[in-house]
């Protein structure tokens, strides 16, 4: 039997300190009951009808919050449970996110031993004033020494997260950030623009007019500089906000856009199994209680995707990748011509210069990448 690909996401919802822009599910207080609960959840993994046996795990991503806040042994124990429960491919991509302020040599070493082969470091900026403004707990210098540590321990696949359009940032300081990071030669760079999300402390400040953000023109310039500088340095933009050296694209993330099945463990984690999407309980207390009562029903909002939902997802997720979506694959999946379903909007968007068709694939143009939301919304049926 050919096994299906599966991705695993593991959520660690704790941070040393919450950053001003962060609206992810994370708390500054560590709860010692969490890791045992998480391990128990993985042990009794519930795939909502999917069978563990039919899958082979191709990627694992430990994200947060700040996974590096945990002890090395805890990460090892979590991964051990994954290996015990699932068949994990030898070549699997296994990533952990680390905060330069909570990482140590010992942790890197134990990650390596536990099978982790990819490190994602949240740097955001190389300017210490900007880091402080964001509420980050580390300096640029700390980051550099930890980056070198990771290299010394033997990691050969490292991502660095960056953020533009942040408070106090200038076009010059952003260029400097990009250049310094490129000089370190990581395999992968994620570069997002700051978005002020409701419910963050930045949002409150922003509403009161207390946040000094770059002007729109500056922000746009930063965005273009990102593309240009990273391209010059040999990074390929394979997704709207992600750049990598050849062969170092993040497989896990690509899986999301290609709608590979994935199971999420931990607080609030999201899953896609067959035609079902579901998320875990998002209240920490409830989550811990549910797990300790050995009830495995931690899933909420189990949503069965209709053909229409799946077509829409296929488009708006797939278009995030610069290679776009394959019309042949569309037909294979949905037994309908791409042209029949999406002929009208794709023609209009093509005329507007936002979409193009190359070798049977539909993808965003350079301008379409800049206006991706506008384009994607046209593919909702």
């Amino acid at each position: 039997m050919v096994k299906q690909d599966l991705e695993i996401y593991i959520h660690i919802p704790f941070c040393a300190k919450k950053c001003g822009y962060c609206d992810f599910l994370s708390f500054p207080q560590y709860d010692i009951a969490y890791v045992p609960a998480l391990i128990r959840e993985i042990k009794n993994a519930n795939l909502e009808g999917g069978q563990i046996k039919e899958y082979r795990v191709k990627t694992i991503f430990i994200g947060g919050g700040t996974p590096s806040i945990l002890k090395g042994e805890e990460i090892t124990a979590i991964l051990q449970q994954v290996y015990d429960t699932f068949e994990v491919a030898k070549e699997a991509e296994i990533t952990i996110e680390v905060n330069p302020g909570t990482i140590t040599k010992e942790k890197f070493t134990s990650y390596m031993k536990a099978g982790i082969n990819r490190i994602s470091m949240g740097l955001q900026s190389t300017n210490n004033h900007e880091l402080k403004e964001l509420g980050r707990i580390h300096t640029y210098e700390e980051f550099v020494s930890n980056y070198e540590l990771a290299r010394n321990v033997g990691f050969t696949n490292i991502n660095i997260d960056l953020m533009s359009a942040i408070p106090m940032q200038t076009i010059k300081s952003w260029k400097e950030t990009l250049e310094r990071v490129v000089a370190l030669s990581p395999e992968h760079i994620s570069a997002y623009s700051l978005i002020i999300e409701e419910g963050t402390s930045f949002f409150d400040k922003w509403e009161k007019g207390l946040l000094s953000l770059p002007f729109e023109e500056e922000e746009r310039q930063m965005y273009y500089d990102t593309k240009e500088i990273l391209k010059q340095a040999g990074y390929n933009r394979y997704e709207i906000s992600n750049y990598s050296k050849k062969g170092y694209e993040c497989k896990h993330n690509i899986g999301y856009w290609k709608r590979v099945d994935y199971i999420g463990f931990g607080l609030g984690a999201a899953s896609l199994i067959h035609d079902k999407r579901f998320t875990n309980e998002a209240n920490l207390k409830c989550y811990l209680q549910t797990i300790s009562n050995q009830i495995t029903k931690t899933h909420q909002n189990v949503q069965i995707l209709s053909q229409k939902d799946q077509m829409e997802e296929f488009m708006f997720l797939g278009l995030r990748l610069t290679e776009g979506v394959s019309m042949k694959e569309f037909q294979k999946l949905f037994h309908d011509e791409f042209e029949t379903i999406y002929g009208i909007p794709s023609k209009r968007l093509t005329q507007q210069g936002l979409l193009e068709t190359k070798e049977g694939r539909v993808c965003l143009t350079e301008k379409g990448l800049d206006l991706s939301n506008l384009v994607m919304s046209e593919f909702l049926l």
Binding site: L194, E219, S241, A269, A270, S271, F316, D370
Partner: protein
């Protein structure tokens, strides 16, 4: 059953808005035992949700209660509640004509306001006996002495023995009931004379057909009588007569001279039963109709369009239904390049317009886009023709126009003296012509201005309130038409004229308004793939310009841990927003942009 005329009292309550008219009406109903206080829903007479929410009376209402006096005699009180807004001035005057007296309610803290005066004069014009009641004496700021002096000085009616009441708590309200018997005269009229009855309102009921509210002045009417409306000439056989319970119709055998009640007959349309018309009998008609009838004509016009073009037939049905109950509402189909199929609707005033719009949205669940309200302009053409212009798009070419006239109102504004300056400035800005001022009690003044109607239909009332910190009150009546320097201001979006945004304006204020409209539209029109110029123009001359910059970037942030629900929501919202856009040329204009230009004067 014969009713002794001398035991009937027909009256209304007149007051400035918020002075407690409806609360006093409720109290009278409650105290005469028609309803127990438990059954009372606050403000019985305001039936519509909209009336309760806004605290205004839109339709005239009536109720009959029995009052047992201390001497054991029983009196029939017919309380007629009148609409409380200048838009419905004519309805007010007809309601007053159905009464023999009026209770004047004045707020003990605020004293006389513009509407108080307007209503009192209207009542005195109808020879009603008016007696004052000072309300809200429970308020800490109440100053009944001052208010009594004001009433005597300004209106010139006896107020020393005015009951000092709180309609809210019921304090001293029994004195009001006694005063009604003592101070309001019993009706006169010969029961055996030919029928002469005044229509003061009518409504359409899907079971009973048209229900006519009337006051019998002479004669009698009962089931089977063939009646005729003297102005509309409509005839019908009476199906039922009766009087008004609280929120219900109570049939009776006969209505005779002096009584207030309702008639239902085989009538299908309220247009046949115009407010102010006289009902008589076909066989034995009265010699002449009651005085004062006139056909009310709309003063304010605007285009109304369904937000969803497919709802056009629904909008037509809804307007037809509303018109059954509202003879003053007029509409006819029109088309706009920008908004598609819709109706040009005529209203008595801006409040009337707002009420209709809200009723369409609430009762008929329709999303409505309205164009800027305008008045009726008289356009005198070079070929000696005169057209009455209600839709700016129909304005003839400038070369064909000799001159134009616009409607002018006589306005009275009452304001505390400290704000006189600000209010005069406002009237000046609105092209007002000053006609004098009177001081009242040294602290307040009554300002008289002639104002163009088109200057007050937008937001004059809001501006008045904000510039006087809420202390100014305002009332107006039509004066007539005057020659005026008017131009048509067009808005061009991406070089294309948007007909729904055109309007007629005085040449002197065109520049200012054009500029403000462009600014507002710039904020309301979302960025699109290309740069969009927004221009205001008179003829071919551009007088203001703004630009909506092209959209360059619209990218979502991190889509974390495979949770795509938020992304989907965002895209759905974006798509929904697009659906609510109107395509004009190749530009998408949100519906609310059309509405936003109606509210420009937020200083």
């Amino acid at each position: 059953m014969s009713i002794d005329q001398s035991k009937i009292r027909n009256f209304c309550i007149i007051a400035h808005i918020d002075h407690g008219k409806s609360t006093l009406a409720d109290r009278i109903i409650e105290m005469t035992g028609l309803l127990t206080s438990r059954e009372m829903q606050a403000q019985v007479l305001d039936n519509m949700d909209l009336e309760r929410e806004r605290g205004i009376t839109i339709k005239a209402q009536a109720v009959r209660v029995i009052y047992k006096a201390e001497d054991g005699e029983e009196y029939i009180f017919n309380l007629i509640d009148t609409p409380g807004h200048v838009d419905f001035n004519y309805e007010v005057s007809r309601s007053l004509a159905a009464c023999d007296g009026a209770i004047l309610v004045v707020d003990a803290a605020q004293g006389i306001e513009a509407q108080t005066l307007a209503n009192v004069y209207l009542a005195l014009d109808h020879n009603l006996d008016v007696f004052p009641v000072i309300n809200k004496i429970d308020l800490p700021s109440a100053d009944p002495e001052r208010v009594i002096d004001e009433i005597e000085d300004i209106i010139g009616i006896e107020a020393q023995d005015a009951p000092l009441i709180s309609a809210k708590t019921g304090l001293n309200c029994d004195q009001v009931l006694k005063s009604i018997v003592q101070k309001i005269p019993a009706p006169l009229g010969d029961k055996d004379a030919p029928l002469q009855a005044l229509i003061f309102d009518s409504l359409y009921d899907s079971y009973k057909g048209v229900i006519v509210f009337c006051r019998i002045k002479e004669g009698r009417v009962s089931k089977g009588t063939t009646i005729q409306m003297m102005a509309t000439k409509a005839t019908a056989e009476v199906v039922e007569v009766g009087y008004f319970g609280a929120g219900q119709f109570i049939p009776t055998d006969e209505l005779s001279a002096g009584m207030v009640g309702y008639i239902t007959a085989s009538l299908k349309n309220v247009k046949d039963t115009r407010v102010g018309d006289t009902i008589t009998t076909k066989e034995n008609p009265c010699k002449e109709p009651l005085p004062g009838y006139k056909k009310v004509n709309p003063m304010v016009y605007c285009g109304m369009y369904p937000a969803d073009g497919a709802k056009y037939p629904d909008l037509r049905d809804a307007l037809e239904k509303l018109q059954l109950n509202d003879a003053a509402l007029q509409f006819e189909p029109e088309t706009s390049i920008a908004l598609g199929f819709g109706f040009r609707c005529g209203f008595l005033g801006l409040l009337h317009l707002e009420i209709i719009q809200e009723r369409l949205e609430r009762e008929y669940n329709l999303d409505i886009v309205t164009t800027a309200p305008g008045v009726i302009y008289k356009v005198y053409k070079t070929n000696d023709e005169m057209i009455e212009l209600t839709n700016p798009s129909n304005l003839p070419e400038p070369t064909e126009i000799n001159y134009m006239e616009e409607p002018i109102v006589r306005a009275e504004i009452m304001v505390t003296t400290e704000f006189i300056g600000q209010i005069m400035d406002l009237c000046q800005e609105r092209r007002g012509v000053y006609h004098g001022m009177e001081y009242i009690e040294g602290t307040r003044a009554l300002l008289r201005y002639d104002l163009p109607l088109n200057e007050i239909i937008y937001d004059f009332f809001d501006a008045l309130k904000s510039r006087s910190k809420g202390y100014a009150s305002f009332d107006y009546e039509m004066k007539g038409y005057e020659k005026s320097e008017l131009v048509k201001l067009d808005i061009l979006i991406n070089k294309e004229e948007v007909d729904a945004l055109s309007f007629i304006i005085h040449a002197d204020t065109a520049y200012e308004r054009g500029r403000k409209m462009c600014e507002k539209l710039k904020d309301e029109i979302p960025r699109q793939l290309f740069e969009i110029p927004i221009q205001a123009a008179i003829g071919s001359k551009v007088i203001a310009r703004e630009t909506v910059k092209a959209m360059r970037k619209d990218v979502l942030a991190k889509c974390y841990g495979g949770d795509i629900s938020r992304k989907r929501k965002l895209l759905e919202k974006q798509k929904e927003g697009k659906k609510r856009m109107r395509q004009v040329g190749n530009v998408e204009i949100p519906q609310k942009a059309f509405m936003s230009v109606l509210k420009l004067d937020k200083d």
